[in-house]
Amino acid sequence: MADPSPRSPRRLRPLRAGLLGHPVVSRLLGAVATLLGVAVLVFVLLRLVPGDQITANLGTEAAALTPAQRQALEAYYGLDRPPLEQFLGWLGSVLTGNLGWSGRAQVSVLDLTLQALPITVELAVLAIALSVLVGVPLGMLAARRPNGVPDTLGQGASLLGLSLPAFLIGTVLLSVLSYRFGFNPNGQAFAGLFDDPVRNLQQMLLPAVTLAIGISAPIIRTTRAAVLEVRGLDFVRTARAKGVGERRLQVRHVLRNALVPIVTMTGLQLGYLLGGAIVVEQIFSVPGIGRQVLLGIQQKEYALVQSTVLVIALCFVLVNLLTDLLYRLIDPRVRLS
């Protein structure tokens, strides 16, 4: 790329290349570009969907509005401003920490998000923890003797987990437990983790299990494949020849070296979960970020959806960054390169 500036290009170029070339800086720039792209995309997509907040609120009753009534409502919802002005106004507010106002809830979007996001993060972390705790040992067990009985069972279980949709697992769990055993913590008013930890964990149990069933499947498969690959490497044979015990060999040597793909897969799943496990949040009445977006879309609350999606995208980017950092921790080869 030629530098358009005629003045002292030689002095500038190495400096710029050096700064931009730094992995952290380029990562951050990429993240900012991603977020901006998300902001534009969501803004445009929302306005391509037919209807606005007026028809979303009034339904077919909107047909009875007089032009003056419609004008009054457009001014109330800020729909009377040109799109570019709406976008820049919203983006400017977001940069100053004002995520907008939800007319439906009569609360600022920031407050809504601060309430919903920790709930989704908690649910996602619990679901991921459960699936790692189940998926990794099962994957290792399956890799022990490929095509053996545990392997076939593990493969079958993961296929089942992959093919059963969350809405089915969730509905069946909820219905069976509440009908047969009267057990339904999710029928109670939702309790925050710090308000009532016991009830909160009860309410998170079923949704986390439902999600974990689906997520542990790819983790089992990834673990199995990674462990199989590492097991065939020379250093494992050497370790075994040196007399390292089987359990220690499996965990310290094999698993540790197989961690990179497992962490990648887990990070990806966590990222998706932070986008809101909408279906599971609906079934179990968990007031998380997924439901916030869904309600926002249903009500055509533009600012709410734009800001919330931006927050979700930010979480996704952060999780990806953290995953990258984890590589450096668990694999010295990444650090060196």
């Binding site: 037919p50 003056a68 009534q69 923890a129 009267g182 339904n184 008013a189 007031p287």
Partner: protein, 508 residues
Amino acid sequence: MRIRLALPVLIAGLVVAGCTPTASQVDGPSEQQGAGALVVGVTSDPDTLLPWTATQFQAVNVLQNVYGTLTEFDSDLEVVPGLAESWETSEDGTTLTLTLREGVTFHDGSTFDSEDVVHSLEAIQAEETAAVARTSLASVTGITAVDPSTVELSLSTPDAGLPSNLASINMAILSSQDETSALETAPNGTGPFTFTDRTPSQSLSLQRFDGYWGEAALVEGVEFRVIPDETSILAAMQSGNVQLSVLDDPLVAQSAGAGITIERTPQLSYHALQLNTRRGALTDQNVRLAMQCAIDRQVVLDTAALGEGEVTGPITSPAYRSDPADRPCPTRDLDRAREYLAAAGEADGVTITAIVSQGEYATSVNEAQALQAQLAEADITLELETLESGAYVDRWVAADFEAAVALNGGRPDPDGMYGRYFTSEGNLNEVAGYSSPRLDELFAMGRAETDENARREIYAEISGELEAQAAWIWLFTGYTYTATTEGVSGFVPLANGSLQNLRLVSVS
């Protein structure tokens, strides 16, 4: 092997945590709100707390318990006194004098009087308020406070439907001292319950208002708990966490287990195939009649809605209910359908496009497909344009369709229900797609007539005219299902789906 140990410990911990305090699961909410609080399961929280602009079912249900109206409906949807103790129409029908109830207070303690009525009705009339009931006051030309307990409404023409229109929650009387913007977060009405607090998307709580002018509510409070999925609401009722809910989906209602009582209430809202008689082949009355004769409504009801409902004519309110047999083809008649088509010069068949909403209500697509199959047997091709509900509403509002598979809300008074659709000046006439001088005349007569029996005859004639012209094709009305758990009694469901009777509910 820490992993192997940690897993069972964690799961056991969660399960133990999940199983211990069964008692508090069952009556958790009552512990917070004192004994006797009622928990109502709802699929969504209100989208607004302003009664004048509320059309969402959940918002209306909450607000009906918080705000008061001049008149009210009893369980048969007959108009009974509310904040107005009585009313009288002048002999020429152009003055309605309302005598207000005395000793009524708002929740903030201020006294209700004629000034509040004038303020509210004038605000509803003002376009900048964007009140949805504005057209219900179209005949009102002047609102005067004669004294603190008397209000006089001057009318441009007699309006027999007005007392019924005043019972809508969209006509709620607000205190003249309140700013509407403040009421969005802190409602202040004269209803049997006061608003206490709300957690968006989670719950909204009301408390009994001891200063209510009528009989005070039996329960101490009501919590509307948001459970987005009807199946999950039923599960919460099964485990005793929710005591009352109004369900829409017949499949869900049928799956209720022991310990839950389901009561079916026929609805005012009706399923219809709306026809736009100003477009394409449908401008020909014979084509419309052919469609009407080709449809077996009972079969549509059976296949699309599990038979849960009743075949209906245009008017669904109990006092004015149309006779479903009073139509050109009371039962399906394919021969006559073909005759009508031939008379229209379309013996080879016609094609009509219908918009269908996906997701707005459970039965829409099934209904459309049942209609399509039946019409096909009469050489009428119904092309379905299935739209996401927002897109459907956009097209419907713009009257941009030939035909529309619709579920429309009904009203207790037939003038309020159809006057706005089928009179040439009606604000929904473009959407209705049909008007005629005869209908204009009949609706004007209905508005001017105060004698109940004479009104019934007029609306029977209107109903017959709508069917004879095949303005639309009316199909059926559905039910709503009030689910209550053991120990809940006294709730009276209404045909308009209203939860206004929550104050009569007791929980033992």
